[in-house]
Amino acid sequence: MAVEERSETGRVTRGREVADIRLERVTKRFDDVVAVDDVSLAIERGSFFALLGPSGCGKTTTLRMIGGFEEPTGGAIFLGDADVTGLPPYKRDVNTVFQSYALFPHLSIFENVAFGLRRRGQRGDPLKRRVEEMLELVALPGLGKRKPGQLSGGQQQRVALARALVNSPQVLLLDEPLGALDLKLRKQMQLELKRIQNDVGITFVHVTHDQEEAMTMADQIAVMNAGRIEQLGSPDELYERPRTAFVASFLGASNLLRGRAAGEGVVRLEDGTEVRVPAAALAGRTGPVAVGIRPEKIRLAAGESNMLEGVIAERSYIGVSTQYIAQTGTGSITVYAQNTDHGPSGLAAGDRVTLSWSPESTFVVDALEEERR
């Protein structure tokens, strides 16, 4: 019941862009390690938000500060309008799905799921109905009497989800919830998590190091690196217009070419070639920059306004596409060519080739020398 109500309000307020979680200049230091470094972000109500980054970049620490398990060294955390910095976990309207699931081994599945409701004073039939409803939502009806040790990893994961969701929290935190599952189950659970989030309309904050998982599930992704947020945006924004070399290489593959800004929407590469880029991409940058192109956006023929001459150095057939590595005056460039026609394409190693791509498919990041930490 409560879930449906919340999903209603979730949808209504989504248009108004109310921030459900706000981090203001949050820093967390462990002795001499700065785990989270001056992070500010706002997470929209009802959205599926992913914190993406390599291992050790501070994702878990950020999540734990939202949950109340760690105190920020500096800064403030808001849930809705309330400042919750310093509030213990049991006073926050937030629930967590732990990476290890952390199911209570001495309690039955039913009692695990009922735990939060009981602490809030719910008893009797309403409690029973609510728990069973939730076990149905995660496709585990009738397993209430078992103990966590008697379930498979995938089932335990669902119980952990049910145990958190049953409380209809304002925000659900998930720390690599699919990390322990095998690939097939992980793909299946990704879709299922997305479906459940749609059904209940609760804000999900999902921590992962898997860019594909983040792209599949999230409305908004914050890419973290070394305790900082590199870029925040929708999956397509991050993929099409990465702002840093780190984001460009963490989300998919990309070719990065050194150059210098040379006026409105033009970058001159090291070999003198001029590359046209969207004016907005340059964003007033001067001096050394790097130009980025995704491998699948490059054609192996003239025809687009940005062009480079090169020689095919390597060719590997991957089935759905063929991957070429071409040597050019500014370094090697990877190209993915879709195998839309029957049979292998005609290009072989040693062939001369003209590479071309459109200015719209080009992005600009800070110069490579200044590679972030």
């Binding site: 939060g116 809030r120 958190a164």
Partner: protein, 284 residues
């Protein structure tokens, strides 16, 4: 082909003799195991058997004739009842106190980072590592320096002290085996620290706490050296036995000893039965 056929029997013979050696080894191992068990159990068997002895003279060392008198009258010797009661009182109080204190210390050591945690971890081992005679004489010096009258209170303090170490070690092992996130999960699900403790932490460590309590009880009943030094004129059961042995060894000592042994056996079988009852369900 023919070469191969000729060579075949040889490995088989080798195989047979190897099996014979293996079998002999196997039985040798069994034999050693039986000898070791006999070595361990024979003294207990003698204690039990001599509890039914009607000794000639004051020392229960040689077999006279069979009797049930000792069992009908287990406290039929001056001061024996008082000594047993004192031992049980001290054991009960010291094991309860040490279990509570030791469990709290173990929780603090495993779950919290605080100044002096490393030192505490080390110091908690000291009572287990240092010789009892050193512990006992140091305590005696302490009590004398502060003019604390020796007796019930000093025995109790000493027993609580050495028991705490064993409790901490036992409970800490149990705590370390559990996911630290379980308690965070409880708090995440709106349990206050107190509710987290009695709904999650305590049920999880209960078997360890129980084991620690029983161990403390047994150690307390058994202790001689430290007790001897700090007891003043009070007598626990081990002190009584030692004192009596100089003038007489009554068979009642064997009766009490057999009772303690039987109680331990009953507890052990209860534990096995309890685990056996749980495991088929757990495996289903």
């Amino acid at each position: 082909m023919s070469i191969a056929a000729e060579q075949l029997p040889a490995p088989r013979r080798f195989d047979l003799s190897a099996r014979a050696v293996a079998a002999a080894r196997h039985h040798l191992l069994t034999l050693f195991a039986i000898l070791a068990l006999v070595y361990l159990l024979l003294p207990i068997a003698v204690v039990v058997a001599f509890s039914f002895n009607d000794p000639v003279g004051r020392f229960n060392f040689t077999w006279g004739s069979f009797t049930l008198d000792n069992w009908a009258n287990p406290f039929g010797f001056p001061d024996l009842r008082g000594a047993v009661v004192l031992s049980l009182e001290i054991a009960a109080l010291s094991s309860i106190a040490a279990t509570i204190l030791g469990t709290l210390i173990a929780l603090a050591l495993v779950r919290y980072h605080f100044r002096g945690r490393g030192a505490t971890n080390l110091l908690i081992f000291l009572p287990m590592a240092s010789p009892e005679i050193v512990m006992g004489s140091s305590l005696l010096t302490l009590f004398l320096n502060y003019s604390i009258p020796l007796g019930f209170a000093t025995i109790l303090i000493a027993h609580i002290m050495f028991n705490i170490s064993y409790v901490v070690v036992t409970v800490r092992a149990r705590l370390a085996g559990h996911d630290r996130h379980l308690e965070e999960a409880a708090m995440d699900l709106f349990a206050t620290p107190w509710a987290t403790f009695y709904r999650v932490t305590l049920p999880l460590i209960a078997p360890g706490v129980l084991a620690a309590g029983l161990l403390a009880f047994a150690l307390s009943v058994d202790d001689f050296v430290i007790t001897y030094l700090v007891s003043g004129s009070d007598q626990t059961f081990p002190l009584f036995v030692w004192g009596a042995a100089r003038v007489a060894v009554p068979p009642q000592i064997n009766v009490i000893g057999t009772m303690v042994f039987a109680a331990a056996l009953v507890l052990m079988f209860l534990n096995i039965a309890f685990q056996w009852r749980r495991s088929p369900k757990g495996a289903a």
